[in-house]
Each structure stands twice: as C-alpha cells, then as structure tokens.
C-alpha cells in the first residue's frame, strides 16, 4: 500500500487545498463583518437560514457559548440570525466559531460585509416605531375628547376638552411629525416639491388654525385630524422603511475578492510581495497553490490546474500551461505558476466586472416607482386646489377666517393617508408571502418591476442545472472494470470523477498502483501491472485496443484497460428541480424565454432542447450577456434575468429585475433583486404570479385612494367638511385600502413545490470530461 500513499496524499491534498482556499476567503469575509467596541469585544452577526425551531436555538446557543473566548450568543429566530460577541484578542476565534457552527450542521454567512448601513436602518425603523407609538397615544386620547365634543359637550367642558387636546396634540405632532417636516424642508430647500410638503403644510396650518381657534373659543378644531393624519402616515412610512432593506452595494464586496497584491519575482529570482496597484505589465509574478491571482497575466512556467469559476461560473478545474492567459481572481489548484503581468490591476477582469456592475446599477436607477411618479403630480394639484379654495371663498364671502378654514380643510382631506398606505401595505404582505415560499425580496420596487417583466433570460450552469453531473449510461462490462474505474475515480476531486465514484460500487480491496492524475485528461493507474485509464475519451483511447469511432472520442468520459476496448461513460448535467415546469409556465404566460451561457454550444443546445428553449446563445462572456440585455432593452423589453455566478453579476444588476438562487456566489446574491433559498426553480414562477397579484392590488388601492379624493375634495372646497366628517373620511379610506391589501395574504399558497423531483430524474445533456 505504501506506493499508493503519495497519490492518496496528492488527492486529499488537492481537495484540502480547494477547501482551504475557500475557507480562507470565507474567513476574510467574516473578518470584515466583525464590529469591535472600545473594550476589545467583537460582535458578529451571522445569517443562519436553516434555523427553524427552538431546538436550533438551543443547539446553536449551547454549542457556541461553551467555547473559549465567546461572551454571548443570541439567536434570533424571526430574522434567522445569530449574534455572537467574543473576545477579539483571542487567537483564531473566528476560525473556532466557523468550525463550531459547521459541526452543528448549519451554514452561516455574515449578514453584512463591513458597511454600517444596516445598523443605521435599524435605528431609523426603531425611531419611526416610537414616533408611531406617540402618535397612536395622542390619536386615541384626542379622539376620546373629540367624540364627546361631537356628541354634544358644550361651553366650558368643550373649551376644556379643546384645551387638553391642544396640550396633547402640539407636542405629539412636533415629535412624531419630524420625519415629514425634515423631508419637506430638505425638498423645499432643494427647490423641489415632494409628497411631504403638502403633509407638513397641512399639519402646521391645521395646528396653527386650531390653536388660534381654541384661544378664541369658536370655530372648527382640527387637532384630532392632525394627529390622526400623523398616525396613519407614519404607519405607511414605517412599513416602507421595513421593506427597504438596505441595497448593499455589490461592487464593494466584489473588489474584496481580488487579492490585494502578488509575489513579484525580481531579476535575481527572489519573490517579494507587492501591492496590486504597483504591478505593471511585463512584471513577473509567482502564484503559489491555493492563491488567487490579483491581475490578468500569462503563464510563463508551471503546468497544472486552476479554478476559473470566478470568471466563467463553471466549477470544473481547468488546465493551464505556459502561454495560457489567466484572469484576475483565478485560483491556482495543483502547482505554482510564474506569470507575466498583462494588464495593471485597475484594468483587470475583476475591475472590469465591477465597473460594468456600477454602470448597470446606475442605468436601472432611473426607473421611478409608481408612487414617486404619482407624488410628482399630487403635490402641485393639492396646493393649487387649496389656494383656489382660499381665493374663491375670499372673493365670495370676504371672510378671511372662513376662507382660511375651508382651505385648511381641503389640505387635510387631501392629505395622502390612503395613498401613503396603498403601496407599502401590499408590499409588506407580498414580502411575507414570498418569504413563506423561500424567496427573499430586496425592496418593494423590485415587486413592481417584476410585474412588468416581459422577457426572461436564464443562465445555464447553477441556475437551470445544479452544476453537478451524474452518470446516465455506463458501458463497463465486468466487475473487474467497475472496481478499477471506481477506484480510479475515487482518487480525483474532478466533478466527473465524483459522479463516477458515486455511481459505481466501492471496490472490495483497493489494488491500484502508481496512480497518476494527468491535468485536464484524467487519471491512470496500474492494476496487477496492467495500465488502466479513466478520463477524456481521446486520452483513454491512446491505450485502448482499437480506436473507437470519432463521435465516441469527441464526447465525454471513458474507461479502458490497456489493450481492451474503450468503455464510454455518459454523463449528464442534472436539471434543477422544476426547471422544465417553470420554463413551460413562463412560456404559457406568453413571455419569451432565452438562454445565455458561458458554456460551449453543445452543452447549451442539449439543455435548451430538453427545456424547449429555442433562443439560446453559448460562450457568452459577462460583457456579451450585458450587451444582449442592453439590446433587449433598446427594443423595449423588460428583462427578468435569472443567474448565479460572478459572470452573471453585471447582467443581474443591469436587468430590469433579477433572480439568483441561494447557492449563487455572494456578489450574485447581492446584485439580484430576489434570492430563492429553496432548490427548485418554481420560485421564479410563484414570484411572478404574486407580483401580478400585488400589482393588481396596488392599482386597486391607488384607485380607491383617488376615488376618495375625488369625493372628498369638492365637499371640502364647498366648506361642508367638519372635523367629524374629515375624521370619518380619513379613517374610512385608510381602512378600506388596508383591508383590500389583506386579500393578498389569503390567496392560495405556494402549491406546486413538491412536484420537482421528476425533473431532476430526467437529465439528458451530455458533459465532457475536458474542462
């Protein structure tokens, strides 16, 4: 067995290397997410999606809190988060935490990658909630007083009640109304008018009028209207705030993936680490195994495999030899390389992607949401109506108090209570429904954009397929061959070899000798002195009995003993569950479906045919994908992009609306509007259905809110609105809108999530061994 040992080592070594490199990168990410306070206590917030129940809480808290250096562990089941505080001076503390969480069987990732927006957002939401509580308290109490006034309290009692209302209303509005006053002030200063300007004006005018009237002791008092207005508007504002999960900039974390420097080889052969921005074209750098390349470079010496998954999105290791061009972000797997720098770091592939994403995100930012567009119309109309009322009544009655009273009434009844609630309530309920079916939504606008989508673009690997090949046909005849092939396969970490190892039975007794892995070809060994190979068909054919036909040579994987016939093994990519059904369902909606992939034409056609997608493009680079999306947009299409890898990130950011699976790379997840955490692709169709329902409800709600105004404004302008009528109109319309939105939560729930297994069992596309 001793002769096997080096090969075994080499194999486990290369696997460890992959795992170690990935781990090291993950830990750097964690390091960025740690917040440290003054006393050296680090705080880390982890997202643990698999946390489901009390047992999970107990396991995680119990398992972690016993570790050395950990101060507190607190699980939050609502947010599926784990908050750990620890002694930051403790060596390898992050490593310990990471291992402990893994050992407990959970997958954790840091919630934020080093930016402070999340904390600020949470503070903001909490402030709004307190303002809401104050407004609610004031509304309830003033309403009690107002109801007694309306039902007949008179003289000194009425005066007393008004006075108490004043004492409650003024501080309450001053405190709770701040968000509107601030926003209105900012807008006016900038010479703009937003939704908050009429709100602030109505609040100030109605309060001022009512104070004057209370002191004089006659006329309409609008304290109740003012606080109720604040209360309803704050509800809308609070829901909106909760929806607006910070739009983390995907670009920042992308630049973190590139190493900060490289080992520069000087003329005397010494390697010295220099920062990436000091590297110039023509410099020679050395890349050790497990290290990522910081710049685009050409291999000078060294022959082995590299991981280009950052660039292409394909997980298979790729061979690199002198003359091969490697992009920044490529990971060396098997051997060290010496490379000549081609481009400076700021012109590298990774920075190109970052620039593309930035441009794409900005391009999308121009689409204004429905409410914003409405607000632009609303404020001027309201102000004009109020002014018109004032002038009209002045001319008619020449009573300044009377005219002012009516104008204020107009401002109050037109205040966009129902309008402010119409959209956020629907979005919040939709987000909850999506969350139930395993879809996370980045913001409410995304739902509006999703409903507009009229063209769907899929990426292939990792999106339509799971990215893991399976054996579908195997021509191995004898047990001896099966055992040999299985043993060979176990000595490689190549995805194809893993598929073979999974498919074949384990050999009873290992008997391979002189095992050797040939990069990008396969693996060979001697069994009882007889050479056997498992790998790319043409490479295996070199030792086989007679050359098989050309088709067999071109396609995929084969096994052979020296002098025996070639035994082809057919591999197929497995489709993601529900892929067929989802593509069909999207087609049934009348949306054109398209496939853009970085893979070769053969693999792409095979998958496309299986799914019935006519429109497909193979060998797309990130820029090609983005260019295709731009072309579609020029034609007026609203593109829904579904993709995962880094190579999809610019298109995810640039598409009208985008989806990424939970398994996608970080940048992909951040760039997408929706992330589906379950395996099956049906999420896309479910979300589309829900988006259309939500859009219908939003439109109904806006119509209701506008109808209310059409009804109320003429009454107010005619001077017929008393405080009682104003209160009834306002609360009535708000309740109507909220009630209508609640219909969304009682719709049929994600019904078709268990039918996906059939799709997974029917893969067809062949996959070659060659990377």
């Amino acid at each position: 067995m001793s002769c096997c040992a080096p090969a075994l080592d080499a194999r486990s070594g290369s696997q460890d290397l992959l795992a170690d490199a990935a781990r090291a990168q993950r830990l750097t990410e964690w390091l960025h997410a740690v917040r440290q306070d003054n006393e050296g206590i680090g705080r880390l917030v982890l997202s643990v999606p698999e946390m489901h129940c009390g047992a999970c809480i107990a396991a995680l808290e119990g398992g972690l809190s016993s570790l050395e250096g950990i101060h507190t562990v607190r699980a939050n089941l609502t947010l599926r988060r784990l908050i750990v505080t620890f002694d930051n001076d403790e060596p390898d503390i992050l490593d310990t935490i990471e291992r402990a969480v893994q050992r407990l069987g959970y997958d954790a990732s840091p919630v934020d990658l080093g930016d402070l927006d999340a904390e600020r957002d949470r503070q903001e939401a909490r402030k709004l909630l307190i303002a809401l509580a104050v407004a609610g308290f004031a509304t309830a109490n003033i309403m009690l007083l107002s109801v007694s006034v309306w039902s007949g309290a008179a003289d000194s009692t009425q005066h007393l009640f008004h006075f108490i209302s004043l004492l409650i209303a003024v501080p309450a509005v001053a405190f709770s109304g701040r968000p509107f006053f601030m926003s209105a002030l900012t807008a006016v200063r900038a010479g703009r008018v937003n939704m908050d300007v009429p709100i602030a004006l109505a609040l100030i005018l109605s309060l001022g009028m009512s104070i004057a009237r209370t002191i004089v002791g006659e006329g309409h008092i609008y304290f109740d209207a003012a606080v109720m207005l604040t209360f309803f508007l704050l509800i809308g504002r609070y829901l909106d705030q909760r929806m607006r999960e910070r739009a983390r900039s995907a670009v920042i974390s992308l630049t973190r993936m590139a190493p900060k420097g490289a080992r520069l080889v000087s003329e005397n052969g010494q390697a010295e680490w220099v920062p990436a921005d000091e590297l110039r074209p023509g410099h020679i750098v050395r890349l050790t195994t497990g290290e990522r390349l910081a710049v685009d470079a050409v291999v000078l010496s060294g022959e082995g495999t590299v991981d280009r998954s950052l660039v292409t999105g394909e997980a298979e290791p790729v061979a690199a030899a002198p003359g091969t061009r490697l992009e920044a972000g490529v990971l060396a797997l098997s051997t060290p390389f010496d490379l000549r720098v081609e481009k400076a770091a700021n012109e590298s592939f990774l920075s190109e992607i970052a620039t593309m994403m930035e441009a794409a995100e900005q391009g999308r930012g121009e689409t204004a949401s429905l409410t914003d567009r409405l607000a632009g119309l609303y404020a001027p109309v309201v102000h004009a109506l109020a002014a018109l009322t004032f002038v009209g009544w002045m001319l008619w009655s020449t009573d300044i108090w009377m005219s002012l009273d009516t104008a204020v009434a107009v401002l109050i009844v037109t205040c966009p209570c129902a309008l402010g609630l119409a959209v956020p309530v629907v979005h919040v309920i939709a987000a909850a429904r999506l969350f139930e079916s395993g879809i996370l939504m980045r913001n409410g606008d995304a739902l509006e954009r999703l409903a507009e989508a009229d063209h769907v673009v899929f990426d292939k690997t990792g999106t339509l397929t799971t990215g893991r090949p399976r054996v579908v046909e195997c021509a191995l005849a004898t047990t001896r061959e099966r055992y040999a092939a299985s043993e060979l396969a176990q000595h490689s970490s190549h995805p194809a070899a893993l598929a073979v190892a999974d498919y074949l039975p384990d050999p009873a007794t290992p008997s391979a000798e002189a095992i050797r892995e040939e990069p990008a070809a396969g693996i060979e060994a001697r069994f009882d002195g007889r050479l056997a190979r498992l790998g790319r068909a043409d490479w295996v054919a070199e030792i086989a009995d007679r050359p098989a036909d050309a088709a067999a040579l071109r396609s995929g994987l084969a096994f052979a003993f020296e002098g025996d016939p070639l035994r082809p093994i057919e591999l197929a990519e497995s489709l993601r569950p529900q892929a067929v059904r989802t593509v069909e369902a999207i087609g049934d909606r009348g949306l054109p479906v398209e496939l853009l992939s970085g893979d070769g034409p053969r693999a792409v056609s095979a998958i496309a045919e299986r799914l019935g997608i006519a429109d497909r493009r193979a060998e797309c680079r990130p820029a090609d994908k983005l260019a295709r999306l731009d072309a579609l947009r020029e034609n007026g299409a609203h593109v829904l992009m579904v993709g995962d890898g880094l190579n999809d990130a610019p298109s995810l950011a640039g598409a009208h609306v985008s989806f990424a699976p939970g398994s996608a790379c970080d940048v992909g997840r951040l760039a997408a509007d929706f992330v589906f955490t379950r395996q099956d692709l049906g999420a896309v169709d479910n979300a589309l259905t829900l988006a259309h329902q939500a859009r219908r409800l939003v439109r109904q709600n806006l119509t209701l809110a506008i109808c209310y105004n059409v009804l109320a404004v003429p009454l107010a302008m005619a001077g017929l609105v008393t405080p009682l009528i104003a209160a009834l109109l306002m609360s009535g319309s708000s309740i109507l809108v909220v009630g209508n939105a609640l219909r969304l939560s009682s719709g049929e729930r994600g019904s078709a999530s268990h039918q996906g297994l059939n799709d997974a069992a029917n893969p067809t596309a062949q996959q070659g061994f060659a990377g």
């Binding site: 119990g62 809190s65 089941l77 609502t78 509580a133 308290f137 109490n141 007393l160």
Partner: protein, 50 residues
C-alpha cells in the same frame, strides 16, 4: 361635572403609562425576536445566559 376633572388625568396617565411601557420594551429589545420567544418559553433555562 367635577368628576371629569378627576377622570381625565387618570385616563391620560394610564394611556401615558402604556406608551412609556411600550417604548421601554421596544428599547430593551423585546420585539426583536417574536418567533424565538415563543420557543424559548419551552426551553429549560439551565445554562446561565448573560
């Protein structure tokens, strides 16, 4: 009508007490994890949590 002079402050104080209680519970994080709290009730709290 004098009873109103007594009842009004009482009503307002009660309301105000509710408001203060809410703000306090919000600040001390009692609304942070509503689902988790439901489970924690069932948990034997043997270990010492800070």
């Amino acid at each position: 009508m004098n009873v109103i002079l007594l009842l009004l402050p009482i009503a307002l104080m009660l309301g105000f007490a509710g408001l203060v209680a809410f703000v306090w519970s919000l600040r001390s994080g009692q609304f942070d994890d509503l689902d988790g709290a439901a489970w924690r009730v069932l948990d034997d709290d043997t270990q010492d949590r800070e």
